[in-house]
Subunit: 372 residues, 2 copies
């Protein structure tokens, strides 16, 4: 069995490692000469995940296709699926998720709590904003990622901050915490939810510290898991999904958005859970039963964001590993860019607060910097 | 940093996966076209681990060398070490371990309890056997592996079973249990011992079920760990070591033999311990601090031994994964041979006896067979 992955980034790398463990071969499609997944997979097709020819080449040598990024050529995948190629999650899911407005509409129709929203095309943004009321959050329908394509408009005076693109305008929610749940669904429709985790974000709106399990009441955690599973079922998705949610100051849980793939907020599962999100994804897309998502030990995860530019150099790895329960993942990207995800660190400890304390210390000592 | 591994088998594969996780590159030296480690490493030098030229080629592109098998060219490695190449564990360790007689002598001198033994050269086997007394165990000094090179001589009438090779004759110990401890030692001399595990063997003397933790008294477990750590220190070894021991019917613990590498009896650490034996080995040989060996959940491991010959086919994987806590590793060897290690299965469960029960069921459903 050959697993074909559109994309060869860190998510593809970690998927590939689990696939190889289970004895599958792995083929990746990536435009870079040396993507992170290259050194852990069997075949590398050099090409864009938007290029239909390249995607077809990947499909020809693979028994099943998946992807590690949303911004790919859905039409090409839909064509292939019609021709009988197995693709998980289905391109239909990807199509829904690529358009944030459609994603919200589908979730709302499924009876999943989402913040109030309206459609606002590029040419009617100001009128719609005034009609919708402030404060509001603008999300462009497409290509948003890690905070890109999102604008917070507090009042009329900030209308100039509107991004000129077809968008969805969303009610500004008073957020107590941002939480997330990884949900796996197999080809028979069985689902497994991971523990609810809690996220803190930095100025650039990139994940800062991920805390597992989330420090919230049990009932709220159960509610969040119910919503996450319902959302994945509503999509009829197969594979692993990262479901991001808001916990409001009045204890309401709203769905924020869904990633149809392994997710940054699930990296902690490699060390802390019985079955990692990556093995779970490989099991689901290859038609195997899901594993247990049980958390064996509390964990805190943070990303190693690039500093500077050039060839990557890891600084402070030895010092970092002197702390107990520290596990370092370096993705092997060939070039550093400021804020680029170059790796991540997971800290496990029976005492969650202790893990958090260690994580903050480790974050000060380990860095991935450019040599230029 | 590039980690060079002599050998590209399953141990090299699992080492490589941890090295890649941590952002290192991996080069392997293996005579096969498609060894298990190939698909998860960056460079493959096609050649024998006994061929000095090939070993030198590997050393040239690597920053540190290690190996996944004992039967390699020690003289070549000693030469390279003299020239300043970093090799862990040191060839000196390998040299001691390659000769079972010398290994026992070194351990005895270090004050480690070993069964009574004498040297017996090929031409004096019968006389020495008669002098030593029965029952006895003959172990050839070199090339013994998975039960090869071992003969049990119960009395005079069985002298014909003696293997014609320079050997060590060892007292036949009344074994209650065969136990083992993985010990990691870093470049600063710090050691970490894993839990004591218990092994059952099949007729061919290949590991059948590995049980972690061993079902033995706490004091005996502590004694076994002390012996294992002492043995690795006596070798001045750096890396991970598999220390096999006998627990006698009168509660004595004797050292049996040492493997200077990740060991079959340590595979359970991937799922059940905080730091796997493979990550621990990579940390040690790259000069990093060791991780915790804490057991998070009891585990049982068994090997998937090949049945028949030809191209491998995995049967019953789906059925196997329907059982809770089951993790399947398939090594990706290109050819099946009877009793060849094609993969392994780890079963974890909060209840050890339950894990054992599930392991026996799973062993009946999953097989790796040849298509010829």
């Amino acid at each position: 069995m050959i697993v074909g992955i559109l994309g060869g980034g860190q998510l593809a790398k970690m998927m590939a490692q689990e696939a190889k463990k289970m004895g599958f071969k792995v083929a990746i499609l990536d435009p870079q000469e040396e993507p992170p997944a290259k050194g852990v997979s069997d075949y590398h097709i050099l090409g864009s995940f938007k290029d239909e020819k390249a995607i077809r080449k990947l499909a020809e040598i693979s028994d099943v296709l998946t992807y590690d990024i949303e911004h790919i050529n859905v039409q090409a995948l839909k064509e292939l699926e019609k021709e009988g190629v197995q693709i998980y999650p289905s391109p239909r899911v990807l199509e829904i998720i690529q358009d944030k407005l459609v994603q919200m509409q589908v979730m709302k129709e499924a009876g999943i709590p989402v913040p109030r929203f309206i459609k606002a095309d590029k040419d009617e943004l100001v009128d719609k904003a005034l009609e919708f009321g402030f404060p509001l959050v603008q999300k462009t329908r497409r290509e948003g990622y890690d905070g890109k394509g999102v604008a917070v408009i507090r009042d009329k005076s900030e209308l100039a901050k509107l991004i000129p693109a077809d968008s969805m305008l969303q009610e500004f929610v008073n957020i107590e915490k941002e939480i997330a749940v990884m949900v796996a669904r197999d080809q028979e429709g069985n689902t497994v939810a991971y523990p609810v985790v809690e996220m803190t974000f930095n100025e650039a709106n990139i994940l800062d510290m991920l805390i597992a399990p989330a420090r919230i009441e049990e009932e709220i955690a159960e509610e969040a898991k119910r919503i996450a599973i319902k959302a994945v079922k509503a999509l009829d998705g197969v594979g692993i999904f990262g479901v991001e949610m808001f916990l409001t100051k009045d204890g309401e849980v709203y769905l924020n958005e869904i990633a149809p793939r392994p997710h940054n907020s699930g990296h902690y599962t490699i060390e802390a859970c019985l079955t990692s999100q990556f093995e779970q994804h490989i099991r689901a897309i290859t038609g195997l039963p899901l594993g247990s998502s049980e958390l064996l030990i509390p964990a805190v995860m943070f990303n190693l964001l690039g500093e500077g530019n050039g060839k990557p150099k890891v600084i402070g790895m030895k010092e970092a590993l002197k702390f107990p329960g520290v596990y370092v993942h370096i993705y092997g990207k060939s070039v550093v860019k400021p804020l680029r995800k170059m790796g991540h660190v997971t800290v496990v400890n029976r005492n969650l607060e202790k893990a958090l304390e260690i994580a903050h210390k480790v974050k000060k000592v380990i860095k991935v910097v450019g040599d230029a």
